[in-house]
């Protein structure tokens, strides 16, 4: 971003100099010389100068593709086809704000974006925040900064919480390893239980040899006692257990394979088991004894130090690190290894229990009390662990399970999203993409993660330096397109949108629609990718950004935007966040979870409107400097004109601009489709081919025309059906 900023500054400088050179009234000569000029020449020059002033500023144009450099080793099919120098530049953007940071020249900004996108890529992030409704149009710079900080803090809290459930969140790595399935978990639990059983048996026999204590419960055949036995036993445990698992071939094979693994993997496997065991112990002890974890550890240490035998036993069993983990302390390394086990670290801290989780930890208490007869603390712990293994391990929450599977999917997709960009050569950036998607998947459990979302998130991660800003922008973006991604195996939200496309085309181009329907493509499934990724796959990276911003500017309605900016965000499932989260005292805590209230109230807005009225609006507007604004994009204006309620998107409706864009792509190629496309495969092929050659502005232009057409047809039909000439129009 820093480089981008520099580029932007440079571009802005270039722009400024360009405009001053071309724009100032006498292009050549100093003031002295000017006096000597004949009036006519001066006049002509002045007129020429004026012409130049009103000409669009043609400053140094940024190469759209170079703003998002592509890796050298990758061949990229799509290059930018977007030719524009008439879009929004940094200078015009900065000038659109007054001294307090109110965006007063909104209309001008919208107009410029609609005309040619955002030319200076360094302001893209900021502008997008406005377009997507992150901030109200009447907010001041100060307010925005406050909200921004507040949101970043909130994001951090969410991320921390996610990290508490799965350490790979925020670890700077992209995790692709799948969580364990039920059988695998059961298998592991069995192995752990076996390990524990054996260790107890061994420990007791050692104990029996050194002191006169009698084991209360005999394990399975313990041959000899001593450290060596432990060592070997520990290494043998896995194959032994896998024999006992008796049954599926896969199980035993799996174990066999694991055993052949190289050292590292093997060590990991052991580590996981031990860590898990240790955690189980602590979780239990925390509940049975009113002491803190730290004091527990100290107790552990002193006790085990006092008992040499025991310590040796442990050392023999698992080495230093494992011993460490065994005592229940969560080492940084140890914690990471619990991913596969489906064990919630949350059980370490019962207060952070998830709202709808069902934690069955208490059932362990009684068994705790029963655990007597063994003199060593460690063994006590192990006995407890063994006995209560299942209740503790079953600390499971469906939601967490589901989310973890989504993490797996996110991992798979992050590694194949826009990898041609140099930006993603940096692992940290991949991790940022992963983290933001992971947090979103948790925060919005109904939608979770669906393929295609990574394509939408990726540009935001590229644009925003701060991950939190990218996240919140994504959250706004998802409000527009969320429906596409929801669903299950029997239906996908995008299908409803596709039905709308069918409805649109059947009205504006019935012939084409009927042709497609006759090919079995009447469901428009072939267009699902375009719709879900919002043309990301069809256009070059830079062009898809142009497409998005022009679309958003066209759809812009400041009332909707401000409303969105002021809505509260509630995050169910997040533990209580201390009130300090909202520094401006705006954060409130409703029962559900923390909420973040958008700063501005209606009162402030009214004040602003009054103040704005006081300015001599007409003069401002005359000079094209804003003042009062309509705050509507082209498309929105067309909607209002067509009688749609201003400021209200019909959510069930067919009035998403993206739908008309898809329809426009088809409609503008109608001749080809009618003539050359004769099957489902051909339409897929055609769509792939055509979409690589899309020109953003003509698609959007056509889409707007189609919308007007569609509405006109509807009106006509409505009139006709009222007069009884034509049966009412069926949408599907």
């Amino acid at each position: 971003m820093s480089t981008c900023k520099q580029e932007g500054d440079e571009a802005a400088d270039g722009e400024t100099s360009a405009t001053t050179h071309a724009g100032s009234s006498p292009p050549k000569g100093g003031p002295k010389k000017r006096r000597k000029l004949p009036l006519l020449v001066a006049m002509s020059r002045w007129i020429k100068g004026c012409g130049q002033v009103f000409k669009p500023d043609k400053g140094k144009r940024e190469d759209p593709d170079s703003a998002y450099p592509v890796r050298r080793d990758v061949e990229v099919r799509n290059v930018t086809r977007f030719k524009s120098s008439r879009g929004l530049r940094e200078k015009s953007w900065r000038e659109a704000f007054d001294s307090e940071g109110h965006l007063f020249a909104l209309d001008r900004v919208l107009k410029k974006i609609q005309r040619g996108g955002i030319v200076s890529s360094c302001i893209r992030g900021e502008v997008w925040e406005f377009l997507l409704g992150c901030y109200a149009t009447d907010s001041t710079a100060e307010e925005r900064q406050r909200i921004r900080l507040q949101r970043r803090e909130m994001y951090q809290k969410m991320k921390d919480f996610c990290a508490s459930m799965d350490e790979s969140v925020g670890s700077g790595e992209v995790s692709t390893s799948p969580p364990k399935t039920e059988e695998e978990l059961a298998e592991e639990r069995r192995i752990i239980a076996e390990n524990v059983k054996k260790m107890i048996a061994e420990a007791r026999s050692v104990n029996a040899a050194s002191s006169s204590g009698t084991p209360s419960k005999a394990g399975d055949g313990v041959g000899e006692a001593g450290e060596r036995a432990f060592c070997t036993r520990m290494r043998q445990v896995k194959p032994v257990v896998s024999d006992m698992s008796g049954g599926s071939d896969g199980g035993s094979d799996e174990e066999g394979d694991e055993d052949e693994d190289d050292d590292e993997a093997d060590d990991d496997a052991v580590d996981i088991k031990i860590v898990d065991k240790g955690r189980g112990t602590v979780a239990l002890l925390e509940r049975s004894l009113p002491i803190s974890k730290q004091s527990l550890e100290i107790e552990h240490n002193s006790e085990s130090e006092a008992d040499d035998d025991d310590d040796e036993v442990l050392a023999a069993v698992g080495g230093e690190e494992e011993k460490h983990a065994m005592r229940g302390e969560s080492t940084p390394n140890g914690v990471v290894s619990n991913r596969g086990l489906g064990l919630l670290p949350a059980c370490r801290n019962p207060t952070s229990a998830i709202s709808n989780g069902s934690h069955k930890v208490d059932s362990g208490k009684e068994e705790n009390k029963c655990a007597v007869g063994s003199s060593e603390e460690e063994i006590q712990g192990q006995v407890k662990t063994e006995k209560v293994k299942e209740p503790v391990d079953v600390v499971k929450d469906e939601r967490v399970e589901k989310w973890r599977w989504m993490l797996h999917q996110i991992g798979l997709d992050v590694l194949r999203t826009d990898r041609y960009l140099q930006f993603y050569e940096d692992k940290r950036n991949l991790a940022r993409l992963w983290d933001t998607l992971a947090v979103y998947a948790w925060v919005d459990p109904e939608c979770g993660y669906c393929q295609g979302m990574s394509d939408l998130m990726s540009p935001l991660v590229v644009l925003f330096k701060d991950e939190a800003d990218a996240f919140w922008c994504f959250e706004r973006l998802m409000r527009r397109v969320r429906e596409n991604f929801t669903g299950n195996s029997s239906s996908l939200g995008a299908q409803r949108k596709l039905e709308h496309i069918a409805a649109i085309l059947s009205v504006v181009d019935a012939e084409l629609h009927n042709h497609l329907a006759s090919l079995g493509a009447g469901t428009y499934t072939f267009a699902v990718r375009v719709l879900m990724t919002m043309f990301r796959r069809e256009l070059s990276f830079a062009d898809s950004l142009y497409m998005w911003e022009i679309m958003w500017a066209m759809e812009y309605n400041f009332k909707v935007s401000d409303e969105i900016a002021r809505t509260e965000i509630s995050v169910p499932g997040l533990p209580d966040i201390p009130a300090s989260c909202g520094k401006g005292g705006k954060a409130t805590n409703s029962g559900q979870g923390p909420t973040l209230r958008r700063s501005d109230t209606e009162v402030r807005r009214q004040e602003f409107l009054v103040r704005r009225k006081k300015k001599n609006v007409h003069i401002w507007r005359q000079w094209g400097l804003g003042g009062d604004y309509e705050g509507l994009g082209k498309y929105e204006k067309a909607r209002v004109k067509a009688g749609q309620p201003s400021g209200k998107r019909s959510r069930d409706g067919d009035d998403d601009l993206s739908l008309f864009c898809v329809a426009a792509v088809l409609h503008s190629n109608r001749e080809r489709i009618l003539r050359h496309v004769h099957g489902m495969d051909e339409i897929v092929e055609f769509f792939n081919e055509v979409s690589g050659k899309l020109v953003v502005r003509s698609v959007l232009k056509e889409a707007l025309i189609l919308y007007k057409d569609y509405k006109r047809h509807q009106r006509h039909h409505r009139k006709s059906s009222r007069s009884g000439l034509i049966p009412p129009l069926k949408k599907e």
Partner: protein, 205 residues
């Protein structure tokens, strides 16, 4: 004058990330890239194959693996001649879902003879970590295939181009057996009227 050509429609199904796109691309384009994007919706590639002295055009449909996209399948499955089920030998779940993919396909494609509809199972990514990270054994996979009516099974690696050709040859064979006699007519390259200049005449020497 026209020549009869057979079109075989093959559908590749399986969980997300098992390597469906890679397998298809390896087979058709003889290329492997780890830069493939997640498939959304469906896409296809075609390849001419020689099966028992018969030249057929194989149309291989690659589909999205995430569960949510299953409902879109019906649009693409229609008229399939063979279904390829792919799983990742390193991830148990992808194997477990084969059942679901098979059932779902039979429901959505509703072939005329579901009992004998040809499936082929591919256990992909056998190259990963030299096979150390593998969790689904060949035995287990073969047992499953046997239980579903002796489905042919191949262990493949799209990355290393291991067994991919063999697998697709078998797929083509099976598809051809099931082929619904759907034929396309392509104009012959040699135009009788001689309107199109013949290449061979241009480079006579």
């Amino acid at each position: 004058m026209s020549r009869k050509r057979t079109l075989l429609k093959v559908i590749i199904l399986g969980d997300s990330g098992v390597g469906k796109t890679s397998l298809m691309n390896q087979y058709v384009n003889k290329k492997f890239s780890n830069q493939y994007k997640a498939t959304i919706g469906a896409d296809f590639l075609t390849k001419e194959v020689q099966v028992d002295d018969k030249l057929v055009t194989m149309q291989i449909w690659d589909t999205a693996g995430q569960e949510r996209f299953q409902s879109l399948g019906v649009a693409f499955y229609r008229g399939a001649d063979c279904c390829v089920l792919v799983y990742d030998v390193n991830v148990n779940k992808t194997f477990d879902s084969l059942d679901n993919w098979r059932d779902e396909f039979l429901i959505q494609a509703s072939p005329s003879d579901p009992e004998n509809f040809p499936f082929v199972v591919l256990g992909n990514k056998v190259d990963v970590d030299m096979g150390h990270s593998r969790v689904v054994s060949e035995k287990k996979a073969k047992a499953w295939c046997a239980s579903k009516g002796n489905i042919p099974y191949f262990e493949t690696s799209a990355k290393e181009d291991l067994n991919v050709d063999n697998a697709f040859q078998c797929i083509a064979k099976n598809a051809l057996k099931n082929e619904t006699e759907e034929e396309i007519y392509l104009p012959d390259l040699v135009d009788v009227n001689g309107q199109r200049p013949q290449k061979s005449s241009a480079c006579e020497c």
